[in-house]
Amino acid sequence: MNLQGDAAELLERYLWHVERRLPKRKAADVILELDSLMRDQLEAQAEALGRPIDRAMVVELLKSMGSPRETAARYHPQASYLIGPGLYPAFLKTLGAVSLALALAAFIPVVMALIAGSGGDLGWVLLRGLGTFVSSFWSSLGVLVLIFAVMDRRSSGDGIGKPDEWDPLALPEQPRRPADRVSMVEAWLEILGPIFLLVLLNASGRFSPLMRIPALTRITLADLGIHLPMAWVNGCLIAQVALGVAVLRTGCWNIGLRWAKILLGAFNVGILVWIAFHVGHPAAESLVHVMPLPVAHLVLQMMHIGLRLAPLLALVLLLKEVWMLVRSGFGRS
């Protein structure tokens, strides 16, 4: 008895949701076996009942299997962990990105001080940069582990719990095109990126206090002449977090989510243009209390170039999203 129509579609949808939670190296093999086993079971049941396999039979089997998250978790041998296998790749990627940002934040001022000839003894300056990096790295590692451990325990996924508590019919559809698929890592980055910016921009109007760089934490955005429409910025970032959560749930960019991303992208461009047009021109002398004058000149020049490039970069990203929407045939393909 063959599995056809909406019953086959439901089984494939379930397997796809399991697959995206498995490590890549074994996902294909596990899914092939699961597919074969579940079809065996459905055929035996259909034979016992004397009727073809239907959607209700598949629903019953999927309920007994447990949600995709549970099924995928059973294929991971780790018995206990702070950060589970579902989130660990995202944790590593985030840690890598944060480490890079911290390294840049710690060593760029050192390099600039050396260029300006105001850093003093080279060895001491380098050691100071290294010390700043190490201390900020450990702080960030602790915070990230805490955040991911809490997320791991609070993440409800698609119905973790007793098998009868989840509804297979509520599983989001799988994307028709591979390009629309979103890995768990990408989905978490969609959420964590805006959260990181929310924390950074709302930390007393200063650069991140996590960085523990005295020179940077004593500079406010206003000192640099940057005025942010914070209500709009926060609203946009919160909407981006919500979009990330929706992407995490569906596991793909469907037509609605693509339109939402385009709208938010257009909004981003608007905000960045507004910021670029409202940037002030503070005198470099106003920053001498935190950095040498040549460094202050360099910082302000780089900041002005960055603020003019940011809307262009956002526009390129927006156009890329529009292109993806067009390529998907506006969801008709």
Binding site: V30, L32, E33, L34, S36, L37, M38, R39, D40, Q41, A44, L61, S64, M65, G66, E70, T71, R74, Y75, P77, P163
Partner: protein, 113 residues
């Protein structure tokens, strides 16, 4: 009502824990000849040991990963199926587990009222 649910949940968890160890031995006992997942599940059920598929299939993978089982993909009835068989190491472990099982069984008979 809530208390009843909690008690029932606790009992389920304890039963699951009790069966978990026995399950490995039961699977090893059934795999002298090649079996694929569903045929093994049916064989165990016919012998009186019902095991849900969400537990059995990952268990087979785990035992294979530990070197207690070997497996190969074969085409049967027009479909690729993964067939499992006990390995030499699996036989050695099974003998040890079976001895311990018999010993425990003997001890428990004396302990239980």
């Amino acid at each position: 009502m809530v208390e009843d649910d909690a008690k029932s949940g606790r009992l389920d968890a304890l039963l699951l824990e009790l069966r978990r160890g026995a399950l490995v031995l039961a699977v090893l006992a059934q795999l002298d000849k090649e079996e694929y997942g569903y045929s093994l599940k049916r064989g165990l059920a016919d012998a009186g040991l019902e095991i849900d598929e969400g537990t059995l299939y990952p268990l087979l993978r785990r035992l294979e990963g530990q070197g207690l089982l070997t497996s190969e993909w074969l085409i049967a009835e027009g479909r690729p199926r993964r067939y499992y068989r006990i390995s030499l190491e699996g036989r050695r472990i099974r003998t040890a587990l079976a001895g311990e099982w018999k010993n425990l069984n003997h001890v428990m008979k004396g302990l239980l009222p």
